[in-house]
Structures are given as structure tokens and as C-alpha cells.
């Protein structure tokens, strides 16, 4: 089909997520909902000091949303909260500003496999699908600070 938008990785991770196993006793959790389509992602995080030790998601949504959640969980495991924030900004820049604006990337950590979502940029209405897990993340991390 359309390799440009639906990378094989996206389809695979949406169908068979690797980081969706329930996490017992999470330290913090967060949820993202898109009332327009009913999609939702729930994130559970176990912390190790200022680091994300373990992270799992439960997503009911489209392939873009589900794959993002899974790749995000993968990328964030072991990151510091600061790094997670930075990745969130970088991912947002990938979708909103165009990936290659050097100004938005300087000093930010690598997105890695999350780069597969870059083509979503061309589909404005789908950007929020890829952002939903990050909204859940933001909510979860807000609990850490308080």
C-alpha cells in the first residue's frame, strides 16, 4: 500500500505491540483521549529515581496512535524525565515544524525508530493521533513533579 505513510514498522507495532503488557503498581499514570474519534491511550510508568524504569501502554486507537505509543514506550525506557521531555519536544517538532529544521534539533536526543512517524506531518488531521501518547506522557510526568 502506502509505504510513505504506513511504514511496515508502524503496521506491525500497531497489530502486535511489544510494550502493552500490564504493569503492576505503576508509580505514575496518564491518559490521552481524542473525543473526535474515541481513541485513547493509557500509560503506566515505574520510576527509578529521576529515570523511567519501566513503561507500558494500553491503546485503543488507530495504527498511527498505537504504533506511536509502542515506539514511544520503547524509546523512553531508561530515559531521564528531562530526556523524555526533550524527546517529546523533538517529536512534536518532527510533526509540526518539519524534521530537518536544525534549530529545533540542536542538542536534543535522537528519536530513533519514532522517525517512522515523520510522514504523518503531511496529514494534518492525523497529527493528533500521533500526539495522543505524548499527551498521556505529559499527564503522567506532571504527577512526578507534584
Amino acid at each position: 500500500m502506502d509505504e510513505a505513510l504506513y511504514d511496515r514498522l508502524i503496521v506491525t507495532r500497531a497489530r502486535k505491540p511489544l510494550h502493552a503488557a500490564p504493569l503492576a503498581n505503576p508509580d505514575v499514570s496518564g491518559e490521552g483521549k481524542n473525543p473526535l474519534c474515541g481513541d485513547r491511550t493509557r500509560l503506566d510508568i515505574r520510576l527509578d529515581g529521576p529515570h523511567i524504569a519501566q513503561i507500558s501502554h494500553h491503546t485503543r486507537g488507530c495504527a498511527i496512535c498505537a504504533a506511536t505509543a509502542d515506539l514511544m514506550a520503547e524509546r523512553l525506557a531508561g530515559c531521564s524525565i528531562e530526556q523524555a521531555d526533550a524527546l517529546s519536544h523533538r517529536f512534536s517538532a518532527l510533526l509540526r515544524d518539519g524534521a530537518d529544521r536544525p534549530r529545533t534539533q540542536a542538542g536534543l536526543p535522537e528519536l530513533g525508530a519514532l522517525q517512522a512517524l515523520a510522514p504523518v506531518r503531511a496529514h494534518k488531521a492525523r497529527i493528533r493521533c500521533a500526539e495522543l501518547p505524548w499527551i498521556a506522557l505529559k499527564e503522567a510526568l506532571s504527577h512526578v513533579r507534584n
Binding site: D2, Y6, L36, D39, C62, A63
Partner: protein
Amino acid sequence: MTAMTTTPPHTGGFDLAAIRAQFPILSETVHGRPLVFLDSAASAQKPEAVISAMAETMRHQYANIHRGLHWMSERTTEAYENARDLIAGFLNAPSRNEIIFTRNSTEAINLVAHSFGSMLKPGQAVLISEMEHHANLIPWQMLRDRAGIELRVAPITDAGDIDLPALEALLADGKVALVAITHMSNVLGTITPARQIADMAHAAGALVLFDGSQAVVHHRTDVQALGADFYTFTGHKLYGPTGIGVLWARQALLEDMPPFLGGGDMISTVTFEKATWAHVPHKFEAGTPAIVEAIGLGAAVSWVDAIGFEAIAAHEQALTTHALARLAEVPGLVVTGNPACRGGVVSFTMADVHPHDIATLLDRNGIAVRAGHHCAEPLMRRLGLSATARASFGIYTSKDEIDTLADTLVRIRDFFV
């Protein structure tokens, strides 16, 4: 798209190629593919007759209406009021004075909820159904919260029809003042048995409003034969402009109802203390109306009438039958609902592919469908779904386009599974 323009006419007198040629947008390409526009239930494309009626008005014969004594104003007033006549004819309304121009169906229903609604008292109820568009739900919720009336909801069957015995039961205590029901569901395609509902409502002492936003597009509408008290529709789904809709109501009702919006053109005399209202329909048309859009809507109904609803209904029925057959062949695809009588709207889900992904992947192939809750969240909940994909057909839709849809859905499914 050249393949399509050589498709032979479906029915006697219905020349699909000639009709398609009147829609400039149908020659566009999307992502390098010919546009296959299967989203007419959201908003239809416009024939050149409508586009140029509007452009030519603005180029050659335009001024503000009603209050002008000069030639341009008089001619524009005539054109605007002529549109009212055309729409009265289109709905078989007993009087042209019963046609109120609004922005869209949504405003038409809000007008009734505010104006007629202001005459309701606690203890009275409005009855809607489970398959309403938000446009025929939220205004009644807001009225409920404003006026302390009750809002009742008639259930639907699993097939997607109004549950008529249940509806009748909800009418039994005589408290329902108004039944407000869609004449055709924008999700299920269900064409509701309007006459039967009107008879039930009247027998229980209630008035009846039909939301005709989807229905007027697919078959001839006769507000008298339907036994309607209020009827609403929206121009942009009827091959007409955006920014224009219609409320029809029986003249006696309109005369009893207080005005909704205040301003110029809806008054008879004004002092700082008090204003008296103009006669209907003007009482309900405050300020400068959507003049050019009303003229465009007049052109749209003339254009539709010239093709004729017999031919349109036959064409769309054939398309829908074909679509249901072809979609049944797509592995994992489930059509939403199976109503007794269906217009050219088919919603569906696919086991392993989210409706959003379906819509985006169809779009990459030039095919436009809707995905989401279709402004009918409570219906989605009733169906146990959070979203569907929806293909909808218009006068210009071809069997080839439906084949393209079905073939592409098979490829999407293969890609995902």
C-alpha cells in the same frame, strides 16, 4: 477518470457522464489519482449551474435587498424571493411564506428550539431518537437545561430502524409536545417512516419536526404528504452553497412563534421601548440574509428538479445495492446496520483496521470517505463502536468508483493483516 465518463447511462434519461461533466471538481486528482469523492453526505460537490448562478449574480446583478428602491436592489430582491418560491415548490409547501432561510440545518433546528421551545413549560417533553445527529440533539439538551422540560430518546433496533412500538410508548402519557426525528440517518442510511411517526405524534397531541438534511438529497420531499409540522434541510448537501439552509414550518405555527434573532428587516415598527414584528417569513430573517447563497440554493433545486428524483433515486438505489454487494466481499468488513429502507450512505468497520487508517489509506488512493463518529456520538455508543468509516453516494457517483473503493479496501486489509 476517463473510464468513468464513458460509462453508459444507468437509467432512461439519466446520463451520468453528462452529469459528471457539470462538476468541475470531479476532474481533479488527489495524490496523483483521480478523485473518487464518496463523502457527499458530509457535503456535496457543486454543479457549474450553482457556481455560476452565484458568480454571475455578484458580477452583474447585486445589491442589498428588500429596502432598496433602485433597480439593482429590486432585481436582487426578486431573485432572492424567487429562490423562496423554488424551495416552496421543492418541498411542496402550501405557502412560500413558510420558507425561512437559515445558515444550515443546525441553525434551523436551533431556531425551533429557541422560538417554539420558548413556549414549552416544565412537564412537557421533546422526543428524539437514538440515531440523531448532534444538530438534532444538542439544541434540545440546551432547551431542556434552559426551560426545565424533559428530553426523551426513542431507541433503535439492532438493524438500525426506529423502534416504533417503543416510540409509541414514549408518547403515551401525552406529555410530548414535539417529536424531532431525522428523516434519514447520516450514519446508518436509514430512511425513517416519517408519515407513520407523524401520525403517531399527532395522535398523541405532539407536533413533529423532521431533520431532512440527508433525506431531501435522495428522494422527492412533500412536507404535506409527510404530515410534517417542521422540516429542515441544509443547502450544501443538496449540491447547493454553504451558508444557507431552510426551515419549513406550517404558517400558523410560525405566526404563533416569537422571533429568534432581532435586527433589521424582521420588524414592522420600532421605538426604544418596543418593536412589533414583520409578517412571516421576514419575522425570522433578521439582518442581511445570505442573498447570493439563497440564489445559489434556488439554482441547486432547479438543477436537481430538472434531473428529476425518479432518475436520481433509481441511480442511487442501484449504487447502494451494488456497494452493499461489493463491500460484502471484502474480508473482515462489517456494514453498520441493516435498515428496512436505506439511502445512499453505507458505514462500515474492518476487523483489523481502524476507521481512521482506512480513511487515510483510501485518501492516499484518491478516495474520499469520512471516518469518525459522524457527529452522532450517542449512536456510536449504542452501536458499541467508537468510529466507523462511511462511504456516501450522490447524483454523480459511478459504479466504477464503488468498485475502486471495494478493490482498494481489499488491498488495505491485505496490507494490515
